[in-house]
């Protein structure tokens, strides 16, 4: 697989110098080296609905403008999620169905069965727990010493949050991180993990969660914040087959993990790249409210979602054929100057900060979007009361994926107040 990853290295270093047909943003190397923005600038300018005949995962359309993405995201009747939400093809002998890759009516039924876990009332109950956990993590960090922010804070906090959602045994919580990382890093999706290892990890995950399920069957969840009890006791989900259970677990583990983790890291990086914004934040911590969605826009933790056309559709003068794959590049739409003012600037006090594509729109719009925002808000509130400055002291290391835009390392030094 790896030799296929760099078809034309100069498409990375100078995307304006090669023929359009040689640009392929589905190649993980593009994001691992953070070269995506010029590629998308060019696509938005020259061919905003572009057909790649030779994508890493086969032919596909790149949709790169904000309004076109919105149009497709809203049109779930003609643009299906049923064949999967990433460009790589699914393995027929190992499918883990879940509602992010289902169409109505099944999607709606399953989403409704679990959405209560992130309902506002439940979030209010979770808030003090997550705040306390964030505080504990921050209090354990070394002052004046170099360490990896990703592992010590971003991974740890999101993992603890997931453990809260599932009421997962706390001491085993890093298993959640491991399963999440394995789920998204398969070689078949352009990542570093051998597919066999991925399957083994996911089956281990299923086995573990099946034990929790059995233990909670018939037991009414006391406070309602436990997702497994919810699924095991809801008539719409209690007869789910094992691979579907696994699918929905992975959806929540991955959905709630990588994305928030990388937003936590991204925030520290962006504030360091924009010291004026960091100063503004310290002078007025109430700006956290508008900074959080801006971090999520600027990071765009999931770079795209895939759809498959169910019929021929005209879009911006192009004909998308029935059966064609499309990537709605949220990361490009989030930098579309026609919709977002000064889109390449990180501005923590934008007037309309939630008007971004990072959570998608339409019936699949991120179920956990308020939970993700809450975690980031609580974390930054606790950071500002403790530290004068989180200093980034080296280059970030980025993950090898064209779907998850993330970091594996961000070296920092904390400065006390």
């Amino acid at each position: 697989m790896s030799e296929a990853i760099l078809t034309n290295p100069s498409a990375l270093t100078d995307p304006w110098s090669v023929p359009l047909s040689e640009l392929d943003p589905s190649q993980p190397a593009v994001f691992q080296t953070d070269r995506q923005f010029e590629i998308f600038d060019r696509l938005r300018r020259e061919d905003p609905v572009h057909y790649h005949e030779q994508g890493l995962f086969g032919p596909y359309w790149s949709i790169t403008k904000f309004n076109d993405i919105m149009t497709i995201d809203k049109d779930h009747k003609r643009f299906s999620s049923d064949a999967g939400i990433t460009l790589n093809e699914r393995q027929a002998d190992f499918t883990t169905p879940n509602f992010i890759s289902m169409d109505p009516p099944k999607h709606d039924v399953q989403r409704k069965a679990v959405t209560g876990v992130v309902a506002p009332m439940n979030l209010a109950k979770m808030e003090p727990i997550i705040r306390q956990r964030a505080a504990n993590i921050l209090d354990s960090l070394p002052i004046g010493e170099r360490f990896n922010w990703v592992d010590a804070v971003s991974v740890e906090l999101t993992t603890q949050m997931l453990a809260t959602l599932f009421d997962f045994p706390f001491e085993d919580r890093r298993k959640l991180t491991y399963w999440s990382d394995m789920a998204t890093s398969s070689e078949l999706a352009g990542g570093p993990t051998p597919e066999a290892d991925r399957r083994a990890a996911l089956l281990e995950c299923l086995e573990y969660f099946q034990r929790l399920w059995v233990a909670r069957e018939g037991v009414a969840p006391e406070v309602g914040i436990d997702l497994i009890s919810m699924m095991a006791n809801n008539p719409d989900t209690q007869n789910m087959d094992p691979m579907e259970y696994l699918g929905n677990l992975i959806l929540l583990i991955v959905g709630g993990n990588d994305t928030t983790r990388n937003s936590i890291t991204g925030g520290v990086l962006f504030l360091n790249q924009n010291p004026d914004q960091y100063a503004k934040l310290k002078a007025d911590p109430s700006l956290i409210t508008s900074m959080v969605p801006e971090i999520i826009r600027y990071q765009t933790p999931l770079t795209y979602m895939r759809r498959t056309a169910l019929e021929d559709v005209e879009l911006s003068g192009k004909t998308i054929k029935k059966g064609d794959k499309l990537a709605m590049w949220y990361i490009s739409g989030n930098r579309d100057e026609e919709v977002i003012e000064r889109p390449n600037d990180f501005i923590i006090d934008r007037a309309n900060p939630r008007h971004h594509l990072s959570f998608g729109f339409g019936i699949h719009r991120c179920m956990g979007n308020r939970l993700a925002e809450m975690q980031l808000r609580l974390l930054w509130e606790e950071i500002l009361t403790r530290f004068d400055y989180i200093e980034v002291v080296g280059e970030p290391e980025r993950v090898q994926s064209s779907f998850v835009r993330g970091y594996s390392d961000l070296p920092v030094i904390l400065h006390a107040k």
Binding site: M70, D73, K74, H76, P104, D108, R111, K112, T115, G116, V118, A119, P120, M121, N352, R354, H355, F359, F361, G362, I363, R365, N369, R370
Partner: protein, 106 residues
């Protein structure tokens, strides 16, 4: 100009004049009525402009489109009088309409 009364979850009332054709969402957000997020800006694709229409007024509204239905349906707190305020344009017939804002948007 026709007017609309927004009632916040805590009971605070806002009576606001609106232009014909502007949606209730636009009227609320441009007059700083709290309680409507409108993340998608009126595209009927986020459901964070959820309102509960006073029973006396429900029948006077055009029925929800299929798209609005599918977005409303994602909300477990949906009530029979739930609507998305970006899908309700102001008109003379709606002069005096009363709508309640839910405790949270999501």
């Amino acid at each position: 100009m026709p007017s609309v009364k927004f009632i916040e979850h805590n009971g605070t009332e806002h009576v606001i004049d609106g232009n014909n054709g502007d949606s209730l969402m636009v009227i609320a957000t441009s007059n700083l009525v709290p309680g409507i997020d409108a993340d998608c800006g009126g595209e009927c694709s986020c459901a964070t402009c959820h309102i509960l229409v006073d029973d006396a007024w429900v029948g006077k509204l055009a029925p929800a489109t299929e798209t609005e239905e599918s977005m409303l349906d994602l909300n477990p707190d949906r009530e029979p009088n739930s609507r998305l305020s970006c899908q309700i344009p102001m008109s003379d017939e709606l002069d005096g309409i009363v709508v309640n804002l839910p405790e949270f948007q999501y």
